[in-house]
Amino acid sequence: MTQTLTEKILSRASGKVVAPGEVVEIKVDIVAFHDLTGYHVIEVMEKTNMLKIHNIDSLVIAFDHLVPPPDVRSAEIHQFIRNFVKNFKVKNFHDVGYGILHQVLLESYVLPGHVVVAADSHTSTLGALGAFSQGMGASDVAAIVITGKTWVTVPQPFKIKLSGKPRDWVTGKDIALEILRVFKADYFNGMAIEIFVENPSSFPMDYRATVANMGIEMNSDTIMFIPDVVTVNHVKNTRGFEPKIITPDNNAKYIDEYTIELDKVDLLVSAPHSVDNVKSVREVSGTDVDYVFIGSCTNGRLSDFEIAAKILKGRKVKTRCIAIPASWSVFKKAMEFGYIQTLVEAGCIVTYGTCGPCIGGHFGIAAPNEVVVTTSNRNFVGRMGSPHAKIYLSGPAIAAATAVIGKIAEPGDVI
């Protein structure tokens, strides 16, 4: 009998051989929450009268949504969670000024083959490492903190093959949008997407994290890159050891397969107000833009800032520009490479490790009728502020070129 990666991980985590469609109880290797969902998780734990932590080593908490606190209520939420951390001696706690939860998990905690659940939908990001990762609500996460376990329906496996090499400036975001263009936002409901990269080095870890991050926008149950040399090198570089990796059996059964020829994928955007309203950048080029956001758990990594800096070097932005590396670690590296200086000289406001703009929380809110180009993950009505703002999603190359021109543009229009 052959098994997919999903089936192998869930068989290990449930202690029995699983099949798609089955509901199984599984052990969770990493459970995590951030500030905005975390206080809710703790409230649920209090209400159950079972305020205990099953395994302190497996719990990770990072503040990112209300960072730094924009109002008293947000500061109170932080205070409440800090007290929990102190009372329960939580070890893996990252206060304001460290990084966005998914990036922190990618840099420091999750390993290939893990089961990861966090109280945030973009937990799908950890699929970049070949981990079975799912976002869940506060109640489910509270139950996992207490018991170490949860239940899942084993998803139907679907295989996507990436062949060839992306064109210049085309990165993970364009590939995520290509998947959404072809399949739309409801196709993968109930499925696990397993992505096989034919030439591992053509699709680095940063790109994989962007695609996996957008797995939730595809409404997949989970999305995973099948571990390869890029996965192994990421763990070696970030943790200092070589991980064991699990891969699907040859001839494992998938319900369907699809191949993306990377060199045929164009620079893409999602136009308002739906992630699967995907267009070639040329279909919308010249649209006036007020505000560009470069960053988030989707595109706040070093390669994103490398691309933005290449385009912004020696130029000035015409739009408002806010840039937010996903973590302190990314920010520091971007500083060492001179990317931060380039962005600041071009006129961008730069900070790190906050989700503020992406959720319309703080640090850059869109006004009615404003047009936003953002490297984040959702262009739903009202997502970044006013419900009358228009949001375009793109990768870093289009975002940076747009900031320079003041209208939706591609790198060729600037360089």
């Binding site: 509901v23 905005l36 969902t37 809710h40 409230e43 649920v44 209400k47 159950t48 009268n49 079972m50 209300l66 209520r73 947000s74 939420i77 109280a119 945030d120 939908s121 937990t123 799912q134 976002g135 869940m136 609500g137 506060a138 109640s139 489910d140 509270a142 139950a143 207490i146 239940w151 936002a185 409801d186 409901n189 109930g190 939730i216 409404n219 149950d221 739906s274 959720i359 319309g360 929380g361 959702r378 739903f380 009505v381 009202g382 997502r383 419900p387």
Partner: protein, 163 residues
Amino acid sequence: MIIEGHVIKLGDKIDTDIIIPAKHLKYTNPEYLAQHIFESIDPEFHKKAKGAIIVAGKVFGMGSSREQAAIAIKAAGVKAILAESFARIFYRNAINNGLPVMICPEITKEVNEGDIIVVNIEEGKVLVRNKVINCKGITGMALDILKAGGLIEYLKNLKSNKE
């Protein structure tokens, strides 16, 4: 569980930012949240929600993991949601907060705004104008959680049964 109510019909891909925007997520108080459901498309929505059954298309509740989306809809008095499909996280959040949700692939074709319908959650059936529509009933642990009124009550019951 038998539920009867009038239908409010919504479209495909109803996302959690539309149900309740992130600016309200610093609170979990159901009464507060209920005032704000669907406010960016219809500020009066909460006034007509009481006693209603929401009928919707594909991937209802897609997007964020915010449990307030389910809490708010329930607190506004919505009795159940029937949709062609649900986003995985929202579906779990609804059950965990005692809000009945059922997958009904044909529902939007058969039901109109304002219809009075009767829903049988265990059997997965909806009665509208003397016609029966088949849905995916709720069984097993999900039904137990729903009947307890949500995951918190379910876990409390488990604990007190053990003691």
